[in-house]
């Protein structure tokens, strides 16, 4: 019984003391990407942003993806923007895709 109370209290303390790991600049960038892509009160599907690749692939992706999109000559499926932060490659999807759906769309572009 005592354990439960202690753990519940510890959980509450941890929740209240959790800190967002983003720096001010990183948070600003997140907010900016949201503001640029969505009109307030817009009643559309949720844009989603998924981290799919580790850093090692970042440079290759930066070259391959734009080239592949150009080669295909069309819209890049559901993928709206690509963002590389030095650690990961992010794909933003404007149609409420699941992470798996976004990856599938990405694969269809580069194939």
């Amino acid at each position: 019984m005592q354990d439960f109370e202690q753990h519940l209290k510890a959980y509450s303390e941890e929740v209240k003391n959790t800190r967002c790991p983003y720096s001010d600049a990183e948070l600003d960038r997140e907010i900016r990407s949201v503001i640029w892509n969505i009109t307030p009160n817009e009643n559309t599907k949720t844009p989603s942003r998924h981290r799919l690749w580790p850093a090692a692939a970042a440079i290759a992706a930066a070259i391959i993806i734009p080239a592949a999109i150009l080669t295909k000559g069309g819209t890049p499926g559901e993928i709206a923007t690509i963002d590389i932060d030095g650690e990961h490659v992010y794909f933003a999807c404007n149609s409420g895709c699941t992470p798996e759906g976004t990856l599938q769309n990405f694969k269809s572009i580069i194939q």
Binding site: M1, D3, F4, H7, L8, A10, Y11, S12, E14, V15, K16, T18, R19, C20, P21, Y22, D24, L27, D28, E30, I31, S33, V34, I35, N37, I38, P40, N41, E42, T46, P47, S48, R49, H50, R51, T98, P99, E100
Partner: protein
């Protein structure tokens, strides 16, 4: 930058820790990181920002929107593999019984899960009532009941 955008930015900066904490406290599929969830919550907050009428406090409004987003994401990804609390390497989860408690809270049905999460965030019964749309009496009764239930499960482990 327009006034609204600046206000929104300031609002997010003020409440970033709570938003992050809410995102982190839900179990999503392996494909989702806390960063992804955080971004989804920001999208929903910005989308609803124009209709925030300030009848409730901004903290209450943010909690409500963030929780709704997370509940919806949890539902959408419920058929995908989920990261268990025991697989987390975060300082939150530092003991077997503690894992059990966090998992039990996450396994609780709505609206009780939201009530517990708001309670541990430090919201008052009146604020939780605004968040959930229940009466203060109902919040109090549900919280007592659900904590009793979890305590019983916990002690049976």
């Amino acid at each position: 930058m327009e006034l609204d955008e600046r206000t929104f930015k300031e609002l997010i900066h003020r409440h970033r820790d709570m938003i992050w904490s809410i995102c982190k406290s839900y179990r999503l599929s392996e494909a989702w990181t806390t960063e992804d969830a955080f971004h989804e919550v920001l999208c929903d907050l910005w989308r609803g920002f124009g209709s925030f009428d300030k009848r409730s406090s901004e903290r209450t409004w943010i909690f409500r929107v963030a929780t709704n987003t997370m509940v919806s994401l949890t539902r959408k990804t419920s058929n995908q593999p989920t990261i268990q609390a025991t697989e987390y390497q975060e300082p939150w989860y530092n003991g077997e019984n503690y894992h059990d408690l966090v998992d039990m809270i996450n396994a609780t049905a709505e609206p009780d899960r939201t009530i517990i999460k708001a309670h541990v965030q430090g919201f008052s019964y009146a604020e939780i009532a605004k968040i959930t749309g229940l009466t203060i009496g109902a919040v109090s009764m549900r919280l007592t009941r659900v904590l009793r239930k979890i305590r019983k499960q916990y002690n049976q482990k």
